[in-house]
């Protein structure tokens, strides 16, 4: 009686054949793949933008026109140098060399700006320490020491980067919504196909006293299992892609700009992304279970 000795919650409706373990898992795997890419893309872009934002926020550029002209206590460049050294919130600063300024101006002034006899300003690259910094007060103090001195913060870039991060997150959220909707539609179609294939069996067990919940649960458990299998497959497939992208993106996010070594690859993905990848099968299970429940209960509503 081997076939008879089966658990009480066995496949009374024959759903193993009605809901095949081929098409639905593959479709869910594809949806999971896309969802993982959307999540990783949003997270990577946000991370890079944050990296650039913190870099830009901690930098100032100070321009001192006519740097060699006299001022009180030395040349204008010298008094600005003293003033920067006395300003709270500045970690380091340095004056760009003539060669560095020439390189910066090369697109506009050609190879040798010196032959034009233009009065080039002194340029200071200032890195902030992260402590509170009074930019307005510092600019005023520098202007008093050497009138005409300009302090340039990267505020416009910061605003644009913030807008970029928000846009990327909104795009990722929209992509995830679309993926979830499509996944739900796929599950609903598969469940309806299963209902059509098992219509007679459902009517028989319904007539024998099965509740809507019993019938819907059999469908939901089967669909949930297939969705989890598909999502796990999707995660496995997307993982090498994400690790490859992380390897390519690593130089943009680190100071040393070196590609990752193979041993560092697994650590290249942020912990939050790992958590999201782990959660994708759970979300797929939830979508599958809830969609199957709703679809079957809706269908059963036609029976008395």
């Amino acid at each position: 009686m081997a076939r008879s000795l089966r658990p009480a919650r066995a496949d009374d409706l024959g759903l193993r054949r009605a809901l095949s373990d081929r098409l639905l898992p593959l479709l869910v795997a594809a949806m999971t793949f896309l969802a993982a890419l959307a999540l990783a893309g949003a997270m990577a872009a946000a991370g890079l933008a944050e990296h650039w934002r913190t870099g830009a926020a901690s930098m100032l550029t100070v321009q001192v026109p006519m740097p060699e002209a006299p001022a009180v206590g030395g040349t204008r460049a010298e008094v600005v140098t003293h003033a920067l050294g006395d300003t709270l919130g500045i970690a380091t600063f340095r004056r760009l060399s003539a060669a560095e300024i020439a390189t910066l101006l090369k697109p506009w002034l050609g190879e040798d700006p010196g032959h034009l006899s233009l009065p080039l300003p002194a340029m200071f690259e200032v890195r902030l320490s992260g402590d509170p910094f009074d930019a307005t007060g510092a600019a005023a103090r520098l202007a008093r020491a050497a009138p005409g001195t300009l302090v340039e913060r990267n505020g416009a870039w910061l605003t644009r980067l913030a807008d970029l991060v928000r846009s990327l997150r909104a795009c990722a959220a929209l992509a995830l919504l679309v993926v979830a909707f499509v996944a739900s539609a796929v599950v609903a179609v598969a469940t309806r196909a299963g209902l059509a294939a098992r219509r007679d069996a459902i009517e028989i067990v319904h007539g024998l006293g099965a509740t809507d919940g019993m019938i819907a649960s059999q469908f939901a458990e089967r669909v949930m299992m297939l969705a989890v299998a598909g999502a796990l497959l999707g995660v496995l497939l997307v993982l090498p892609v994400l690790l490859g992208l992380a390897s390519l993106a690593a130089p943009f996010a680190t100071a040393d700009a070196q590609p990752l070594q193979p041993a560092q690859l697994l650590r290249a993905l942020p912990p939050m992304l790992w958590a999201e990848l782990v959660s994708l099968p759970l979300v797929a299970a939830l979508i599958g279970w809830a969609t199957a429940q709703a679809t079957v209960r809706g269908w059963l509503g036609r029976l008395p």
Partner: protein, 233 residues
């Protein structure tokens, strides 16, 4: 137990065909009724009403103490578990073994698996299908499938047992055994309604009979008193 008051049934909404008209009859607990009438008279529709496969579109239907026309959907599964039905076309689940088909009502009712196995084994022994317990319906003969369907209908000791041409695929010996079972269940308190075209069967087991013609109840009395013109043809 079973009471119909002006019950009508119409398929396909208000504009659909009315297949049962103004039915009135009552059957006490432990009652027995033959259900007779020519093809298309409404016997199957009445059985569908009594198995709660459909609800009446008019009138009142009292079944096992519940007003069916007013009962919520959540109440109906518990009622259905107290009703056994033997279908003319067996209606076995093709992917389940004979054992599992018979076990289905008990499992749906949440009986412990140990009790399910013991009861099913006993029931299969009674219908002489112990050796075919593992067989799928497609591997069984018509008579064997009919016996599985009968075993499934009675294993839950239903309060109301309905049968639609239950002896149609049985040989004389099996038909005799089935009628003995129905009479025994009836004697133990199960109400039984048997739809049949077989005048010989009714003659062999006389009792009360309901006769339908064109969806109307034209006779409710002793089977011996059924006018020949109204009998099954």
């Amino acid at each position: 137990m079973v009471r119909l008051e002006s019950v009508g049934l119409r398929y396909g909404g208000p504009g659909g065909a009315e297949v049962l008209h103004d039915l009135n009859f009552a059957m006490a607990e432990g009652g027995f009724r033959w259900l007779l009438g020519p093809s298309g008279a409404g016997k199957t529709s009445l059985l569908r009403l009594l198995t709660l496969a459909v609800r009446p579109t008019s009138g009142r239907l009292q079944l096992l103490g519940a007003a069916v026309e007013r009962a919520s959907r959540a109440e109906l599964p518990l009622l259905r578990r107290r009703i056994g039905m033997v279908f003319q076309d067996f209606r076995l689940l093709p992917h389940l073994s004979a054992f599992d088909n018979v076990a289905l009502p008990l499992r749906l009712a949440g009986r412990p698996e140990g009790q399910v196995r013991a009861d099913v084994a006993e029931m299969l022994r009674w219908v002489t299908l112990t050796r075919r317990a593992e067989a799928l319906p497609a591997e069984l003969s018509g008579g064997e499938q009919q016996r599985v369907a009968i075993a499934r209908a009675v294993i839950g000791r239903p309060a109301l047992l309905l049968a639609d041409e239950p002896t149609g695929n049985l040989d004389d010996t099996q038909a005799e055994r089935l009628m003995q079972l129905l009479r025994e269940l009836n004697r133990l308190g199960t109400s039984v309604v048997v739809a049949t075209h077989s005048t010989a069967l009714v003659a062999r087991y006389p009792g009360r009979a309901l006769v339908l013609a064109e969806g109307r109840l034209v006779h409710d009395g002793a089977s011996d008193d059924v006018p020949r013109a109204e009998e099954a043809t």
